[in-house]
């Protein structure tokens, strides 16, 4: 195979046949990405999200044609996209996701408290007594009894009367609705997943602060390492993506910074476990 085809690709059969027949000419490769059409900062149909940007970088690195299969990231997303063969890679999934094969992580996120610095000065974590009375927005992941980790941590502290739920199913991303509620003082504090927090904070005029949450002993985990998912039997694509992520580490970091993805001390080693 030519150097342009150095990674065994997802269209394995077509690629191999072409590679053999056409020797050193370019393989017809495709990078088919499964993504949500309306879920910034990750992705949207105009390809303005950071996962769209990363997909472009990877496609260029692998010399592949980039295409998308769009579907809202609701229940059944993995099955209806990746597992039914409509696309080959889902960016932005937790590394310990079930039923898929994952790459090495390329960033870590954590749940965070976002609040008006002038209204709640010095808020630093879930054990602040003010959280018993402040109105707190929490995203609801939307399947029966599936808890948002910080919501569960608040319930463990008997904080629920002043908690306002934002179901992820709706017109706009739940994070966007939470920031709108912060702007109108409908809530005082928003519990937001950090990639969304940084993105929307950069678009607010009000002075907002962010605190990444640290779990106490009996709290659920708030931090997740994020990778890309491929089909369980698609080791070739996983290895190609791992190599590409490693090569692209500086560019990936730049994109994440540009989108304000907040990480714990940026202590992620891209392309490897912390």
């Amino acid at each position: 195979m030519s150097s342009r085809c150095r990674d065994r690709r997802f269209r394995a059969l077509a690629c191999t046949v072409l590679g053999v027949l056409l020797a050193t000419t370019a393989c017809a490769r495709s990078l088919r990405v499964c993504a949500d059409p309306d879920n910034l900062p990750y992705s949207d149909v105009a390809e303005r999200g950071f996962e769209n940007r990363l997909a472009r970088l990877i496609a260029k690195d692998l010399d592949a044609d980039l295409s998308y299969y769009w579907l809202p990231q609701w229940r059944g997303f993995t099955r209806k996209t990746l597992l039914e063969g409509n696309c080959d890679v889902i960016p932005g999934v937790p590394v310990d996701s079930a039923n898929v094969r994952v790459t090495k992580p390329y960033y870590r996120g954590a749940y965070a408290l976002v609040f008006r610095a002038d209204r709640v000065p010095g808020l630093s974590g879930l054990d602040d007594a003010r959280l018993r009375t402040l109105r707190i927005g929490v995203p609801l992941v939307g399947i029966d009894a599936a808890p948002t980790p910080p919501g569960r941590a608040l319930a463990r502290r008997a904080i629920y009367d002043n908690v306002v739920g934002f179901p992820v199913v709706g017109d706009k991303p739940a994070a966007e609705r939470m920031f709108a509620a912060l702007a109108t003082d409908a809530i005082d504090v928003a519990v937001v997943w950090s990639p969304q927090a940084g993105y929307y904070m950069a678009r607010e005029h009000a002075p907002l602060s962010i605190v990444l949450l640290e779990p106490e002993e009996r709290d659920p985990r708030f931090e997740f390492a994020i990778a890309m998912a491929v089909r369980p039997d698609d080791a070739a694509l996983q290895h190609a993506l791992d190599a590409s992520l490693a090569r692209l580490q500086p560019q990936i970091e730049a994109v994440l910074r540009e989108y304000g993805v907040v990480q714990h001390d940026d202590d992620v080693t891209l392309g490897g476990q912390r």
């Binding site: 937790p94 808890p147 319930a155 908690v163």
Partner: protein, 464 residues
């Protein structure tokens, strides 16, 4: 998904998944009106079959798992205009609770319980949708229906009874005003919707005849209630139950078994019945000849195991992993002929797969039901003895009907075509190597794909 259309006074009424109710001229198919009642983008849908009562078309919504607030709405049959809407959560004036409301049990009395039994504003997204079949008693002039489970919070995040979810309402069909309410599963922990059908029959009870309401619930108890007052006359387990020990008839309260409460991060085994319940929405039948209730149902338990990382809309979380499994005895389905007066079964029939079809009882003392393998069966209403069976082309999750044709003959019709929550493994080609797929169904019916196939055929049998 749709649970059926209804004919009334020359018109056909039905709902669509995107929250519209349509009225058609039954003869020509011409649209008479349609009314939009909700927004599918907010996770709200409509799947139930309407009921027409006194020129009111009664319809309800679905989607509690997405943070939808449940309601029953009455439309004017002539114009489609909304006459009233009764929410299942919130302040009394929005639930249509007023002077006529006389619940039997003290725990259902008080001002604005639809707000005060929830933390903060959780009632605004509290579930209690209305997606099952409705019943109407023309003598008492009351309509009866069940409300779905509370949602979408983890139970620990919604302390309180979470009224008026997982219960039964009796309402005036013209005004919508509530007459009584009874909560079958207060502060539901296990996804026990109370939307199963309410069978209105007059029954002998302790020497007198009672105007009864018979309700086989997902929580595993068959409730016999006084449909005038909302009093529970008896509540008997019709499957093995581990999530509760009994129903306290003095207070009406379900006695939960705390050891089966879901605990974040912990494994809880042998939760019986599983989330789809002892019986889901597949309707039971009553025969006034045998005084028995024929209940098609499942025998399934579940383990809530070590949490699994997942994500929705780019938001990671750790959710419980459900694995359903056959209940005690190992058979996943059963037809129970229940004697509501004696509060015990007259006979039972085990089936290998969950019995997800409705039942039909005829005046010939024959009971019809279908299996997920595709067998359409006729059994003796008195003994359960198999009289006849026919293998259809797909699994049966529809409801049999009986009618007299224009030729005067009696016909029995059944739709064959596997689907629904239990059948989605076949209908949607789910990979059952993931034991938790299809919210736990993959583990309990991994063989379904070998035993049936997709389809959609209407079979009509003529009686000789």
């Amino acid at each position: 998904m749709n649970r059926g259309a209804i004919w009334s006074n020359g018109r056909l009424f039905f709902n669509t998944l995107d929250n519209q109710t349509f009225a058609l001229d039954a003869r020509t198919g011409t649209e008479v009106w349609h009314t939009r009642l909700g927004d599918i983008k907010q996770g709200e849908t409509m799947t139930m079959a309407p009921l027409v009562v006194k020129d009111r078309v009664l319809v309800g919504n679905s989607g509690g798992e997405f943070g939808v607030r449940g309601w029953l709405t009455a439309l004017d049959a002539a114009t489609g205009k909304i006459a009233w809407r009764a929410f299942s959560t919130g302040p009394d004036n929005e639930v249509l609770i007023g002077d006529q409301f006389h619940p039997f049990y003290p725990s259902d009395r008080g001002k604005d319980l639809g707000k005060s039994t929830w933390p903060g504003e959780a009632w605004k997204i509290g579930g209690g949708t209305v997606w099952g079949f409705l019943s109407y008693d023309p003598t008492l002039d009351l309509v009866y229906y069940g409300t779905a489970n509370p949602g979408p919070w983890n139970p620990s995040q919604r302390p309180g009874d979470n009224k008026w979810t997982s219960g039964i309402f009796a309402r005036d069909p013209l005004s919508g005003q509530a007459r009584w309410f009874y909560q079958l599963s207060p502060h539901d922990l296990h996804d026990y919707d109370a939307v199963n059908e309410n069978i209105l029959v007059d029954l002998p009870f302790n020497g007198t005849t009672r105007h009864a309401l018979v309700h086989p619930d997902r929580n595993g108890y068959l409730y016999v209630m006084d449909r005038e007052t909302g009093e529970v006359l008896s509540a008997s387990a019709f499957v093995p139950i581990t999530t509760s020990t009994s129903v306290d008839l003095a207070t009406g309260r379900l006695r939960y078994a705390p050891e089966k409460d879901p605990q974040p991060g912990q494994t809880v085994r042998d939760i019986c019945p599983a989330s789809p319940g002892a019986k889901d929405w597949q309707p039971a039948a009553y025969s006034p000849r045998t005084h028995l209730v024929y209940i098609p149902h499942q025998n399934i338990c579940q383990d809530a195991e070590t949490a699994q990382t997942s994500y929705i809309a780019g938001t990671p979380y750790v959710g419980a992993t459900l694995r359903m499994k056959p209940g005690p005895g190992g058979k996943r389905g059963r037809v129970t002929a229940w004697d509501p007066a004696a509060a015990k079964p007259a006979w039972t029939l085990d089936e290998d797969l969950p019995v997800w079809s409705g039942a039909l009882a005829t005046a010939g003392d024959v009971v019809f039901y279908g299996t997920m393998e595709g067998w359409f069966k006729a059994v003796d209403a008195k003994t359960g003895a198999l009289l006849w069976q026919f293998k259809t082309g797909s699994g049966i999750v529809g409801q049999p009907i009986s009618y007299r044709g224009p030729d005067g003959k009696q016909y029995i019709a059944i739709l064959s075509g596997v689907g629904g929550w239990a059948g989605t493994i076949v209908a949607n080609d789910i990979d059952t190597r993931d034991k938790t797929a299809s919210t736990g169904w993959a583990n309990v019916v991994p063989d379904l794909r070998q035993k049936t196939q997709k389809g959609g055929m209407l079979y009509v049998f003529a009686l000789p």
